[in-house]
């Protein structure tokens, strides 16, 4: 019934993130955009592994036999932690930029050009 | 092992030939130039005398100059320019024909110019610096048409032959392209020849392209601070460069020899070929240096850059396209 709606939602999330990255000038907004792209990709990975009428790939008191694919979950775990690490580092840089420039407007934070 | 011996002897020989004939051509050039301007002019041996005089003088190093660069550059310039003659056919096969090719020659041609530029910069005089940077700009500018010309010829050759040494000047000289192309090809080759003939005086920084040394504006330009034997070295290397340039043009476009029409013994053939080569080189120099410098006034540097980047480049690309069309039809 819902066909590939979850996949489409992932694509929309990625596109939203890209839109933020291209059109929003605030640095923290840019980081938010990155987070959105990352959420989209994570959701994409998990959605890939889903099987209808299946249970989580854990042999602890599961009721049904069928299991969803475990690999994407392992990949997404990695990806989530990587995303957090990236976000932490990049936000630290934002704080530092604000200390030096007194602004976080991308059109003003450009001493490096040409 | 033979090749090692050959290169050692060849180097000596080439040094002799290059210096002597370079200076000789310079003298002839000046004489003819004077005649065209209805003057008597200096004797043909005048360059030799100039060099001797320069060598007698003391070699002055300016106060601010970086002395080790300043003194090293003239020597390297002359050495590198003479070494090109090892790879260039002068009527006979080049000495290191199997050890280097056309691209190498192009890059080696850059070396003396770079040495001159560095020498100019190293002398720490604003005049010299301005002159040197002009030379550099000219080098940048003529590279494009020059590269187009050379690659076009080789590419056209590679469409005909599939040898493994197409890029060596020996091969190019042995397989003149004029014989193997159609109408478009001939026109294209003619255009490329014209481009090369324009590039030659620029490469040699002769009038009207002598902005680096413009006596009137910047007092001799990049050689302003040079004197004595250093200047003499540059003088000689300039002369040798003339020979090299001419011989490249000859090898690319007029590789024909006349010895095959006679039936002399082989060593006589060598002499005849060499003499004919000298003649061809003289013609090239006469056309592209003497005549041009007599008939035009000096251009501004941005004019030169613009001319080379736009019209000459487009012309050379047209030549390339014509050569390409030649393979299609």
């Amino acid at each position: 019934m819902i066909d590939n709606l979850p996949f489409i939602a992932c694509a929309i999330l990625v596109i939203l993130g890209l839109y933020t990255l291209t059109f929003k000038r605030n640095l923290i907004k840019i980081v938010i955009g990155l987070n959105l792209v990352e959420s989209g990709v994570n959701l994409f990975l998990i959605t890939l592994g889903y099987k209808s009428n299946a249970v989580a790939p854990i042999y602890t008191m599961a009721a049904k036999e069928e299991m969803v694919l475990p690999t994407p979950q392992a990949l997404t775990l990695t990806s989530i932690v990587i995303g957090l690490a990236t976000t932490a580092l990049i936000l630290s840089f934002t704080i530092l930029i604000y200390k030096h420039y007194k602004t976080i407007d991308a059109s003003k934070v450009r001493r490096l050009r040409e | 092992m033979i090749l090692v011996l050959k290169s050692v002897i060849g180097a000596c020989l080439v040094a002799f030939i290059g210096i002597v004939f370079g200076l000789l051509y310079k003298g002839i050039d000046r004489k003819l130039h004077a005649h065209m301007q209805m003057r008597v002019g200096p004797p043909v041996t005048q360059p030799f005398k100039d060099v001797r005089k320069l060598f007698l003088k003391e070699n002055l190093v300016p106060e601010n100059a970086v002395d080790w660069v300043f003194n090293l550059m003239p020597v390297i310039s002359l050495v590198s320019v003479i070494s090109i003659l090892l790879y260039v056919p002068m009527g006979v096969d080049p000495i290191l024909s199997t050890k280097g090719d056309l691209i190498l020659v192009l890059y080696l041609l850059m070396l003396p110019a770079v040495c001159m530029i560095l020498g100019g910069f190293a002398s720490s005089s604003p005049y010299a610096t301005v002159g040197a940077q002009r030379e550099m700009v000219m080098m940048i500018s003529y590279e494009f048409p020059l590269a187009v010309t050379i690659i076009a010829i080789v590419w056209r050759l590679s469409k005909i032959y599939s040898a493994s040494n197409i890029f060596t000047l020996q091969f190019i000289a042995a397989h003149p392209l004029w014989n193997n192309v159609g109408v478009f090809g001939v026109i294209g080759l003619a255009i490329l020849l014209a481009v090369l003939l324009i590039v030659t005086p620029i490469e040699l920084s002769k009038i009207p392209f002598d902005v680096p040394e413009a006596e009137t504006e910047i007092a001799g330009g990049l050689l302003a601070e040079y004197s004595g034997k250093n200047l003499g070295m540059f003088y000689i290397s300039d002369a040798v460069k003339t020979v090299v340039m001419a011989s490249i043009v000859v090898a690319l476009f007029f590789p024909y020899n006349i010895s095959q029409y006679f039936s002399f013994p082989q060593y006589v053939d060598y002499v005849i070929d060499f003499a004919f080569f000298l003649f061809k080189a003289f013609v090239v120099i006469f056309v592209s240096v003497t005549v041009v410098r007599t008939s035009f006034a000096r251009l501004k540097i941005d004019q030169i850059a613009h001319m080379l980047w736009v019209p000459v480049t487009i012309t050379s690309i047209i030549g390339l396209l014509l050569l390409y069309l030649d393979t299609v039809f």
């Binding site: 990255l21 291209t22 929003k24 000038r25 991308a106 059109s107 450009r110 050009r113 040409e114 | 090749l3 090692v4 290169s7 050692v8 180097a11 040094a15 320069l54 007698l56 003088k57 003391e58 070699n59 002055l60 190093v61 106060e63 601010n64 002395d67 020597v75 050495v79 003479i82 070494s83 290191l96 050890k99 280097g100 090719d101 056309l102 691209i103 720490s124 005089s125 604003p126 610096t129 940077q133 550099m136 700009v137 940048i140 500018s141 080789v154 590679s158 493994s164 040494n165 890029f167 060596t168 601070e225 004595g228 034997k229 070295m233 501004k300 941005d302 004019q303 850059a305 613009h306 980047w309």
Partner: protein, 111 residues
């Protein structure tokens, strides 16, 4: 032969060139040493003058941004948009990425 690089259509051997270079260097250095001796100039002899006035040391040195004036002047119409393109704005960086992504997707997608 060691040191000979075959490129398929050309050839290059640094060692022989170097050999020739050494020989030539000996010859040329011999010629060079025939000349007069080298003197480090002092006083007025070794200084550049501008219209008869001595120049300051800083002014002698031509600044890097002034060099190649002729070249940039001749190619002004090329350089102006190029410099304008490098805005240093992070949005533009990403924008270029997106544009290239679009083009590559079209080309690779075989449309």
């Amino acid at each position: 032969m060691i040191g000979t690089l075959e490129t398929g259509y050309g050839v290059w051997s640094a060692l022989y060139w170097l050999l020739g270079l050494v020989v030539l260097f000996i010859i040329v250095y011999f010629i060079y040493s025939l000349g007069g001796k080298t003197v480090k100039a002092s006083g007025d002899k070794g200084k550049p003058f501008l219209s008869g006035n001595e120049m300051e040391k800083e002014k002698i040195h031509v600044k890097a941004s002034n060099i190649y004036w002729g070249f940039t002047e001749a190619l002004k119409s090329y350089y102006t948009p190029l410099k304008g393109g490098h805005t240093g704005n992070i949005n533009d960086y990403v924008s270029w990425f997106v544009v290239v992504l679009a083009i590559v997707l079209i080309l690779a997608g075989g449309l």
